[in-house]
C-alpha cells in the first residue's frame, strides 16, 4: 500500500511540474535563495528563547549564542549550511578526515576536538566555555553534567531525512537563523522532488548495498541507506531483513538475491575493482553486466543524513535510471546545492 501511495504522490508531483522540468525548477529555487540571502537582514528573535530538543528536553537559551560546540559531523555540516560555522569553537574528532570541512570551512579543522560520541572529552568541551553545545543523543549523560554546570546543550538525533529537517528547524530557532533554515529545507525538498522522477520508471531494479566495513555487511530495512534506494526507484534486496544497523550476510545469500546493481557505501574500505575481481561473486547479474558502483565521497558521505544527503538518493537514481535522472542534471543539482549553502567554488 505504502509503495503505491508513494508512486501516486510522485506521479502527481511530477505531472504538476512536468512543464518546466524539476531540475530547472530546483535551480531556480536555489538561485532565488542566493539572492534572498544577500538581502535578508537577520531578524533578531527575542531571547531568552525556549526550545525542545530532539530528546524532548526543554532548553532555555538566555542570550544569542555567540560561540558553539558541535560534537557530531551531521550537525556540524548543517551549521555550515546555515552559515553558522564562524561561531564554532570546538568540533567532533577526526574533522580532518571530512573533505567538506577543508572545502567549505577549512578553519574548522584547526578547532579543538571534543572527541567522538564514544570518547567524549567532557572537560575539554567545558573548558571552551561555549554558549551552546550541540551533541548527538548518545551523549545525554554528558549533556546532563554540562547542564548542571550551566552550559546549554541541545541533543540532536538526525538519523533520517525527517529528523534532519526537524534538527535544521531547531537550529533555526535556537540560533536565530530561521530564513536560512527554511531555505535549506526548501532546497533539500526540491532535490528530493527531482529524484522522484526515478520512481515513475516502470521497472524498479534490485540493488545490493555493500557496507563500509566489508562487502558482506549490508543495510537492512529500517536503515537510512535502505530508504535512499527506495527513494531512488530501486528495491533493496536486503529489505526483507528487519534491523536498524549493518548486518552480516553470506556470499551465497548475495548470489541468491542476484541483484541487478551493487552499490558500495561512500566510505567502503574496499573498491569496485575488488568486487569485480572477487571469484565468489562471478556470475552475479550486477557483476556480469558491469553494474557495480561506489557512492562518491569526495565532498560528503551522501549515504548519511547530512543536509547534502538528499543528493545520495539523486545519485543512486542516476545509476538506476539514467534515462530519467541524467548525470548532467545531477552534477548541476549537486553543484548548485554546494555553491549555495557551502560556498564551494566549482570553477576553481
Amino acid at each position: 500500500m505504502k509503495k503505491i501511495a508513494a508512486l501516486l504522490l510522485a506521479l502527481v508531483l511530477t505531472l504538476s511540474v512536468a512543464a518546466c522540468g524539476v531540475v530547472e525548477q530546483t535551480q531556480e529555487i536555489m538561485e532565488n535563495i542566493a539572492v534572498e540571502d544577500e538581502l535578508t537582514v537577520e531578524a533578531v528573535s527575542a531571547y531568552p528563547v525556549t526550545v525542545t530538543d530532539q530528546m524532548g528536553r526543554e532548553v532555555t537559551i538566555e542570550g544569542y549564542p555567540e560561540t558553539l560546540v558541535s560534537g557530531y559531523y551531521i550537525s556540524s555540516s548543517a551549521l555550515i549550511a546555515l552559515g553558522q560555522e564562524d561561531k564554532l569553537v570546538g568540533i567532533e574528532a577526526k574533522a580532518d578526515k571530512r573533505p567538506i570541512y577543508s572545502l567549505a570551512a577549512p578553519e574548522l579543522i584547526e578547532l579543538p576536538s571534543v572527541g567522538t560520541a564514544k570518547e567524549f572529552d567532557l572537560e575539554g568541551c567545558i573548558a571552551l566555555e561555549p554558549d551552546l553545545v550541540i551533541l548527538p543523543q548518545k551523549l545525554k549523560d554528558a549533556a546532563a553534567t554540562m547542564e548542571e554546570l550551566g552550559i546549554d546543550v541541545l541533543l540532536v538525533d538526525p538519523e533520517n531525512g525527517e529528523l534532519l529537517t526537524e534538527m535544521i528547524e531547531l537550529f533555526g530557532v535556537a540560533l536565530d537563523c530561521r530564513p536560512a533554515a527554511e531555505d535549506l529545507i526548501t532546497a533539500m525538498e526540491s532535490i528530493e522532488e527531482a529524484t522522484m522522477e526515478a520512481l515513475l520508471s516502470s521497472s524498479l531494479p534490485t540493488v545490493y548495498l555493500a557496507g563500509n566495513s566489508s562487502f558482506l555487511s549490508t543495510a537492512p530495512n529500517g536503515m537510512y541507506q535502505s530508504d535512499l534506494i527506495a527513494q531512488a526507484g530501486g528495491v533493496n534486496v536486503a529489505a526483507e531483513i528487519e534491523d536498524a544497523y549493518w548486518v552480516e550476510v553470506s556470499y551465497e545469500q548475495v548470489l541468491e538475491w542476484d541483484p541487478e546493481f551493487i552499490i558500495l557505501a561512500s566510505d567502503a574500505s574496499y573498491t569496485v575493482a575488488d568486487v569485480y575481481d572477487d571469484p565468489a561473486l562471478a556470475g552475479c547479474t550486477a557483476v556480469e553486466n558491469g553494474d557495480v558502483y561506489q557512492m562518491p565521497s569526495d565532498i560528503e558521505a551522501w549515504d548519511s543524513p547530512v543536509p547534502g544527503g538528499v543528493l545520495g538518493a539523486a545519485w543512486i537514481a542516476t545509476v538506476l535510471h539514467p534515462e530519467l535522472v541524467s548525470a548532467e542534471d545531477f552534477a548541476q543539482l549537486s553543484r548548485d546545492f554546494y555553491e549555495t549553502f557551502y560556498g564551494l567554488d566549482y570553477e576553481a
Binding site: L216, W246, S250, L255, E256, D267
Partner: protein, 321 residues
C-alpha cells in the same frame, strides 16, 4: 560405552553434520540441480558450501585435539590454547591487519603472525625459569595475554567505529562466513601436518600427564617434549583461528566430552575429542547461517552449547564427591 563404539558413533555424527552442512544455506541447492549441472548451483556448492564445510569439520577437529593436548599436558581441565595467549595474539594481529593492511588474506596472515608471536613470547618467557615447571608456562601465558589485550585495546581505540572497529569486533566473535577456498588450502595443509605429528606423539603426550617426575623416570625429556607438543598444537589452532576469528569453547568442551564418554586418557580419547570438536563446530556453524535472516557469529552457538555443558560438568563432579 566402549571407546571403539563411541568413536564410531561420533564419526558417524560428524559425517551426518558434514552432509547437512553441505545442503543448508541461503542459496537453494538441490541434488537434481547439482546432478544436472546447474552452473550457479555447482559454483555455490564447490566454491562456498564445500569450503565452509571443510573449514567447519577440520577446524573443529583441530580445536578439539589441541584442547585435549593442552588439558593433558597441563593436567588442568580448564586449560585451552587461549591460556598461553594464542587467541589474544591472533586477535591483536587481526586488528593490526584490518587497520593497516587490506584484503582478507592479509588479515589472515597478520592474525597468524600475531598468534605465533604471542606463543613464542610466552614459551621463551617460560624458558627463563630453569626449574621447567609447567606452571611457569601458564604464568607467562597470562602475561602475554594481558600484553596482547592491551595492544588490541590500543588498536581498537584508533579504529574508525563505522569501518575498522566493526570489522575487528566481528572478527573477534568468529565466523566461518566468506572464507575463500584459496585461503583455506595452506592453513588446512598445516593443520593436517600438525594433526599427524600429534597423533604420532600420542604416547608421549599421555606420559606427560602422569606427572613430570614419573615421565622423567620413564625416559621422556619432559621440557623439550612439552615445548614441541604445545608448539604443534598451537600452530594448528593459529591456522584455524586466523581464518575464522575466535571460536570459543570448542577446545575446552570437546576433551571433556571425550573423557566423559571413555573415562580414559589415551590416543582414542584424543581422536574422540577431535571428532566431537568437529561435530560441535559444524553444528554451531549450521545454526549460525540458518536461524536468522543474517549471518550470526559462530561463537554465539559454540558458547550457547558449551556454557551449560561446563556448568553441568561442575555440578556433576560435586555431586559425585
Amino acid at each position: 560405552m566402549k571407546l571403539k563404539s563411541s568413536i564410531y558413533i561420533t564419526a558417524m555424527a560428524l559425517a551426518v553434520m558434514a552432509v547437512v552442512s553441505l545442503f543448508v544455506g541461503k542459496y537453494p541447492l538441490t541434488l537434481p540441480g547439482l546432478l544436472a549441472g546447474h552452473e550457479m548451483q555447482l559454483k555455490v556448492f564447490f566454491r562456498l558450501r564445500l569450503s565452509r564445510t571443510v573449514l567447519g569439520v577440520l577446524g573443529g577437529v583441530c580445536l578439539g585435539v589441541a584442547g585435549f593436548v593442552y588439558q593433558t599436558v597441563f593436567r588442568n581441565p580448564l586449560a585451552s590454547p587461549d591460556i598461553i595467549g594464542v587467541a589474544s595474539g591472533a586477535s591483536a594481529g587481526a586488528a593490526a591487519g584490518i587497520l593497516f593492511l587490506s584484503g582478507a588474506a592479509a588479515v589472515t596472515a597478520a592474525s597468524f603472525a600475531g598468534a605465533l608471536l604471542a606463543v613464542i613470547l610466552a614459551l621463551s618467557l617460560a624458558a627463563l625459569d630453569k626449574t621447567g615447571k609447567s606452571g611457569t608456562i601458564v604464568l607467562s601465558g597470562i602475561a602475554v595475554h594481558a600484553l596482547a589485550q592491551t595492544l588490541l585495546m590500543g588498536l581498537k581505540l584508533t579504529a574508525d567505529p563505522e569501518k575498522e572497529l566493526a570489522s575487528i569486533e566481528y572478527w573477534i566473535m568468529g565466523s566461518l562466513n566468506g572464507v575463500a577456498v584459496e585461503r583455506i588450502f595452506p592453513n588446512a595443509l598445516l593443520c593436517l601436518v600438525c594433526l599427524a605429528v600429534l597423533f604420532l606423539l600420542h604416547r608421549q603426550i599421555v606420559l606427560l600427564s602422569v606427572g613430570e617426575e614419573e615421565a622423567q623416570m620413564l625416559g621422556v625429556s619432559v621440557t623439550a617434549l612439552r615445548l614441541a607438543v604445545l608448539l604443534t598444537a598451537t600452530l594448528m589452532v593459529a591456522a584455524v583461528v586466523s581464518l575464522t576469528g575466535l571460536i570459543s569453547f570448542v577446545g575446552l568442551l570437546a576433551p571433556h566430552g571425550a573423557r566423559l564418554l571413555t573415562k580414559r586418557d589415551h590416543r582414542g580419547t584424543m581422536a574422540l575429542s577431535g571428532l566431537l570438536g568437529g561435530v560441535l563446530l559444524c553444528f554451531a556453524d549450521i545454526l549460525a547461517r540458518s536461524v536468522a535472516a543474517t549471518e550470526l557469529p559462530v561463537s554465539i552457538f559454540t558458547s550457547l552449547i558449551g556454557a551449560p555443558f561446563l556448568v553441568w560438568l561442575i555440578v556433576r563432579r560435586e555431586t559425585r564427591a
